[in-house]
Amino acid sequence: MRELLFEILNESKASFTEIRIEKSYFSEVRFRGKELDSIGSSTSVGGIVRCLENGGWGIAVFDSLDNIPYHLEKACESAKMVGSTLPDEKKVLLCSVPPVEDEISAKMDRDFREIPINEKKRLLEGYNDLILCSDRRIVSSHVYYFDKFIDYYYANSEGTYIHEERPDLSLYLGAIAKDSESVQNSVEGVSGKSGYNIALRHEDLAKEAAKRACDLLTAKPVVGGTYEVILDQVIAGTFVHEAFGHLSESDHLFENEKLRNIMTLGKEIGPKFLNILDDGSIRGLRGTHKYDDEGVCTRKNYLVRDGVLVGRLHSRETAKKMNENPTGNARALNYQHEPIVRMTNTYIDKGSTSFDEILVSTKNGIYAKGFIGGNTAMELFTFSAAYGYAVRDGKIEELRRDIVLSGNLFKTLLDIEFIGNDLEWKELGGCGKNGQNGLPTPHASPHIKIGNVMVGGR
């Protein structure tokens, strides 16, 4: 493959060209209720060429490797067309990075490609039966397993060549409970890239999902208002991803002067004990790769240090435009997409406060746990907890449901009162941006407490 790619790149008439090829294997098992919903494996192959010529980008995506030079020519023509419309000050330039050559093999405890599909089915069947049999109020389930293995090749006209094996696996255990008043669902799950063993021995999670779905039937919805809120590690990680992480992605900023002025490095954005990082080099996490999808080394990037905005996430284009160092954050969902600036593994670094101290400090609040999702419009953001509890006078009280928290970036970060000492990672799920939905972006946090959070409700 290396020789093929460089042979094609040598033919390119563009000033910069890169090619990414992916050969993928995928398998899934899904149960909905008692019935098996889907089971099977598939393979796919495809690639993308990106050309930069005269300061403009041209791109071509293809599903067959038979005629890459044809697609290269199309991408080059498009690049020239784009470049011809741009004044000099708008032409794209890329920051310099050293070329690399590397082969990165996957390290899995058990290669899931070698596990027969009937074994995966039996595993899921076991979890599914546990959920369905756990309580008479459980009416259905949604138990889903998938694994994916990508043979990934990247080369560019500067001499970079990377071949990486990229495994990934997720297991979702969902329970649906119903009574005469309501229907509630609850999901637990795990995700990772270390191999098939990730999916094993999660009977407790299956039972937990079922129990919580039943408990939520009788939980009261939270009343809308402004609260002191304790976030567990999972929802706090979602909070930092939505509230701050997306605004750190420089492709939102690099062509928007006013937004850049709002997010000036050196601006105090949170309390002095707040540190937020993004690190694509942390061993073993789903968001980790040695190089990003432009061949740039990933690294630990401080975004907020001691409450002050100190860094951003970049592609080669945004780093050059903003005169900052590249950070290794250009990522593409798959070969059908060009790389854009994305988070990798984002976290609030641990503080020094214990959970008990955080709890005792809370007079009238909500303890939000787990996550359903989050959304951002840069300044405004929401994030939804899976469930929570009322907190009164430092004690965890009754279960609450339908907890959706919302905030304003410039206020909410400053309202963080405590950061716990119990950092935990959550790898399940993925992030959506510009039509590239489901990119693994693990997040982490300790418990944190925020004063004055708006919570929607009736």
Binding site: I39, V45, V61, S64, N185, E255, A377, S384
Partner: protein, 438 residues
């Protein structure tokens, strides 16, 4: 290769279905007003479902060089597959709906770029400081379906989509205002899109506080999705069979206000969602889902219909009705949903209101107990109405409620729908029992 595969399927399986799709699309992207990239995208994928010994299996790929692996995947899927007894589509559908406009095929990159530039220039003439992002996509392709019942179908599809996102930044206020329209023909009225966006920008110049938490809420444009996301789950025959739909035992009963009627529409020409048949070859048709508040029908495919003792409503799609995705198992999905319009224009509605909140866009859609109809959302683009006029933008407001309660009492459904070619066409709709957190 597909001929070899078809020969194998005929030889080995009594019931089989083979589908493939091929598309070419050209996305053109403007970032912050400048042409940023032009992309050529070729997409090809094929998939099979087959029965053996009472079980069904599925396989898909785009790799035409590896038929052995594909058939092996299919065999493993069948061996371990679910028990199923339904027939693939039998009756050749009529092809009367127009799904393809060759003008889209002939649209050159230069022409698309010119439209993008026109949009940017028009907005900047009025608001030079607003950042304008535009994505225009033209796409043409064809879907093929064959099955063991002798059905051999082909349908050409075309699509032209324009998406505009405006970024308005003042001091610490960051606002996004967007619109997206698509069509199977090139008649997307981008001038009307721009006029609508400029009108909204004008109303954001002032941020006003809501004086009350108990005012009518007008869900408009993208805001109507708040009301329909739960219905796409609740009216889905699969969820009815699983007994997870809150509507499972309510067929034939009055569930909503009598003003509300909803049709799954199979007879619209030249929309991106226009299809003559669904992704298993079943004729698309009009199905009345809710009529004057009464629940009339759920949506089904061949499999779920057979389990429910109902006919398929032609509601089986890979991906969704707009964008065929061969790697996705075909499932029951909504088609084109049209809400019957009322008698009042949007302008007359606004004039009649002493107070109200217009919700155009929200944050957090789908991130809650959607199956139960619950919503709790931040209003990312909303306007305050006072004494018959839009007086400014609402900010830091959350709305919460339950769709199954909200639609029981509808104050008004208007008759104004600037764009009625989407896969959800609902004019602005006013409900009062929505909780506001301010």
């Amino acid at each position: 290769m597909l001929n070899d595969l078809k020969a194998q399927l005929k030889d080995r399986f009594a019931k089989w279905e083979l589908t493939h799709g091929q598309f070419e699309s050209v996305p053109v992207h403007f970032n912050a007003g400048k042409l940023s990239s032009i992309k050529d995208r070729e997409y090809f994928h094929f998939a099979t479902r087959a029965f053996k010994d009472g079980r069904i299996g599925f396989a898909d790929t785009n790799d035409t060089k590896n038929l052995d692996q594909f058939t092996s995947n299919l065999d493993r899927s069948i061996e371990n597959g679910q028990n199923a007894e339904f027939n693939f589509a039998l009756t050749p559908p009529q092809s009367t709906i127009r799904t393809y406009d060759e003008n889209v095929f002939f649209m050159g990159k230069g022409e698309i770029v010119d439209i993008g530039k026109t949009i940017v220039d028009k907005i900047h003439r009025v608001y030079p400081d607003i950042v304008v992002n535009v994505t225009l996509v033209k796409s043409v392709g064809e879907i093929f379906i064959e099955n063991s019942n002798g059905l051999t179908l082909a349908e050409e599809k075309s699509n032209f989509t324009i998406s505009i996102v405006l970024e308005k930044v003042t001091d610490d206020d960051i606002l996004y205002i967007s619109d997206e329209r698509d069509s199977a023909s090139i008649d997307v009225d981008y001038n009307q899109m721009v006029d609508g966006l400029l009108d909204k920008v004008k109303h954001t110049e002032r941020v006003v506080s809501l004086k009350s938490k108990t005012i009518p809420v007008i869900f408009a444009e993208y805001g109507t999705h708040v009301l329909f996301m739960p219905l796409t789950m609740g009216l889905n025959g699969k969820n009815v069979l699983l007994k997870t739909s809150p509507l499972a035992d309510k067929l034939g009963t009055e569930i909503f206000d009598q003003k509300f009627s909803l049709i799954d529409c199979g007879k619209m020409d030249f929309t991106t969602s226009s299809r003559n048949f669904d992704d298993e070859g079943t004729q698309r048709r009009d199905t009345i889902l809710i009529e004057n508040g009464m629940l009339r029908n759920f949506i089904y495919d061949q499999h779920t219909g057979s389990l429910a003792g109902k006919e398929s409503t032609g509601s089986c799609f890979r991906g969704d009705i707009k964008y065929w995705d061969g790697s996705t198992l075909p499932q029951v999905k909504k088609g084109i949903w049209n809400v019957t319009r009322g008698d009042t224009s949007f302008n007359d509605l606004i004039k009649s209101l002493d107070s109200g909140l217009i919700v155009y866009d929200v944050l957090g859609l789908g991130q809650g107990n959607v199956m139960a109809g619950e919503f709790s959302l931040n209003v990312s683009l909303g306007f305050v109405v006072e004494h018959g006029e839009i007086v400014g933008r609402a900010k830091n407001v959350m709305i919460a409620g339950n769709v199954y309660d909200s639609l029981k009492k509808i104050d008004c459904i208007t008759n104004t729908l600037p764009w009625d070619k989407d896969s959800l066409n609902c004019p602005p709709i006013v409900v009062s029992n929505v909780n506001l957190t301010i």
